[in-house]
Amino acid sequence: MAKDTQHRTMDYLVPETLSQIESMELRARHIVEGYMTGMHRSPYFGFSVEFAQHRPYTAGDDLRHLDWKVFGRTDKLYLKQYQQETNLDMLLLVDASGSMNYGTKLNNGRTWRKYDHATSLAAALSYVALQQQDRAGLIVFADRMLDVVRPSNSRGQWRSIVNALKTKPVDEQTDMGRMFDEVLAKLHHRSLIVVLSDFFDEADSIGAGLARLYHRKHDVMLMQIMDHAEMTFPFGSPTRFEGLELEGKLDLDPKALREAYLEEVHAHIRAIQTESHRFQYDHEIVDTSKSIGAPLSHFLARRNARLKRSG
């Protein structure tokens, strides 16, 4: 039974299944619920936070946290407050540059892009965060900010985030350095910044941006979204490769260049890792052909660890 559950859970989180859910909201909930069932129940999930105190209800607060017992006794509306409730600000940075538009055709005939994977993950992460009373925000960017949703945990925040995630990727390249600077300008509190990108940018530039974020005491999680093909370069016959970010075209025999290409990719990833580890930031490779469960677990672990530190 447990194995069947596990299997079904894995089915929920794989791109083949997720790609069939058009609605981002449903997709996110699907991810979270799929994750919550079976083996994905984790003590670090964060739902079992401790009650701290009441505070009077003000217009706009989430009614889910109303303490009805108090209302029954006093006819006054009070909200439960938890220990972490006011400690975590999360900002999701979703890369919508041209390179994120790359995807692989799945068995079901649908194409699952890196951007789809990133936005699904972002939606799930923000859903979980908002469920935890965290304030979640979103910035969709490429060479500039394409869409911004300020961090909040209001009722409409989730919808706002989902709508923002519908932004389509552009052809321009990523400019991570500039993006981090712009993010810094917008953040007033120390936050957990989750960057969902393929990080196809100069490692030095990324490192410089991370350094600035570190200086401002922000926590960063780098989720490097990569297509399986980008990681394995499985092409055999001579092919004309066309860049998605206006890099031009290249005719070559993939077999002849495969090893060299993979070395370049590997070197770049190592550089990113080095930069992130310098600031003790997490860096994770997210394979778009694999289940979303793992990065989700990682995020939750990271979030709980941060909460413990700050608490």
């Binding site: 393929d198 993979l262 990719v265 394979d287």
Partner: protein
Amino acid sequence: MIQPLMLAISFISPGLAWLGLGAISVPIIIHLLSKRPRKPQPWAAMRFLLAAFKKHKTRTRIEQLLLLACRCLILLLLGLALAGPMLDKMFGLGIIGASSRTVILVVDNSVTSATKTDTGEPRFDAIRKAAVKMVETLEPTDRLAIITAAEPVTAVIAKPSLNPDSFKGKIQNITPSASKANISKALTLALDSIKQVESENRPTYVALLSDFSNGSTPVGPGAASLDGELQQLGKKAVLMMLEPHRSTENVQITELTADQNVVIAKGSRDDTTGTPVVGWRLVLKRFSHDKTAGEQTGVEVKLRDDVVFERVVKWQNGETERRLDFNTPLSETGLYPVTARITTPDALDIDNSRTMLVRAKQKLNILILGAGRSATDQSPETFVDVALAPVADKLGYPLEVKQEDADRFNQKMLEEVDVIFVLRPDRIADNWKLLHRWASGGGLVWVTPPPTDTGIAWPPRMTGAFGLEQKWTFADAPLKHPKLLKFKSDDQTAEEFRRETDLPDLLKPLRVIQHLPVNYDSADTRTILTGEDGSNLMIATDVAPHGRLYYLAVAIDKNWSNLPISPFNPALIQHVVRTAIDRLQPPQIFEPGRQPSLSARWANIKKLDGPNNESVLLEINRTTQNGSPNASDPNNDPPSSNGTTPGQIVVRPSQPLLTPGIYSGGTSALVVNVNPDAGNTLRAPDEPLKKWLGTAGEWQSITRTEPEAVIMKMSELSDYGWELLWAVLILAIIEMFLARYVSHASTTHRTQGIENMAPNTAAKSN
């Protein structure tokens, strides 16, 4: 450099080489087609691809070109290897892998090899040049044997030997001979040579260098075929034959014969002047394809040094043979050499002369072995003596008769004797062998039974000595059975006798009172006289090689018949003596190149003086059990030709008689004449020649200008092919590894580093 290199390389199957060359276009085309992009692929990680491409652009190109070159080279070399490449030695590459060879040269230096070609040079010059050229082709590690095909067939170098170049001198020393060729024997010797080094497993070549005329390779109807054992030759060696010379015209003397070989003074047919005269027949033969009229041939005949006959023959259209008759007087006794010679120059000189011998004798010497001093006026000895020389003045009579006691018969008595009458065979005892030996050299023996009954122990002794034990069977005792004597009607001698006797009507019937019967079972024996009942009364047999034995079953005695007192008696005796002598002492004629077995008459002669002051020693042997004087010498005449019996003395020259002409010793002489057939200078017809040589195997033709071409071609045939195939194999292995390396085939370890960075599956995350 390219042109000499191209000349240095040739191929057995050039088509395959071209195919290999064309095949290299296949990988080139595939390479070009592979570069054509198939479909566009949108790619996000372009920056990395561009970076990798820039870094490895040159290396990748070199790798791919290297792989392409490797594949092209494999196909090219495969084509070349299968095409059978042959490289010229002058580039030094011929030494690599050139295997050691065995070459047997069979050089035909027989009569027609001396035929002059259009340039005036003898055919043998071209043959010798071809032999030298082939030897110069060989390496020091090659083996060479040389065999000459003219009789006596000789292995100049029998066992194939190394350093062939050192034997060029031996080839230069070979000259045309006067002998006919024995190609079969020469090839047999070649086969023996091959067997001596067979274990070395070398490529072996046999080159038959001949002019292939009808004279050297008789392939016409009835010609002897090659020895069947030679079928092995083609399996053991590559057979090569020099291209035949074209036909050349030639006139030769094929016959020079006398109507009598022994002439007795006052006994010849034409005796008007009192000088003996011998009639001659000379035959000229013309070998020509043209056979046109008008050509002339001059001929002269010399008797000793005097020209006795001259004639210019004008050939008629289509005429190939002309017979000339002439007479020569013999003014004195002795041995007369007669030489006929063509005076008109032609292509072949060696067969333009022919020699014969004729002996003029003053008297015939008759020996009667009988009772000796015991003879009486009525004894057989007296009757025979009188019958032989029925004249009072015997001084000038051509028959010299001597009587001796048969008891004391010895070798000394045989000197200069031509006929022996054995009238007392019972007293010969153990000397029958002496008689046989003497007779075999050209003597006539006439045997009659003894007149008195002394037992008949003598017939077995006689038949034993003459080898007639199984052939002649005598009765145990004389048979008293009166009968008339008759000639056999089909006997040539009888016919001649009838023509020669005077007044046949005067002959009274010959009555036989008793006789010692004899029967025979022999093809060599003939009956000359019979009784009226058919019984044999006189028989005769040859005593090989030159003698004759007569047996008259009736003793020359009145108690046996009326023959002694009949006029028939002297007529019969004299006639038999005269005609038999001519037949019994023919000149001994041999072909060049042989070591003939001579009769015991030569036993006292130490050497022969030949033409050109040549001197040849004579050696004496006793025959072995099989009758052969020396079984191991192939030049000996076989036993059947000399009629030798075990223990008999045989005299032979110590070396072959090579030069045509007269070889004399003491008072005897023999003649060496070129075999006329061996002088046929016309080219042997192709098909019969091919069939004749085909017994030994398949023959390849070699040219006179490049005789070494076949050896060069065959010996370098497969060497480089195999080496190229090895090179192809090595290249294929290199290509396999190179392809795998260049293809950058996807393997797990190349992508593990990146894939491991991705989050694990649910199992791990949970």
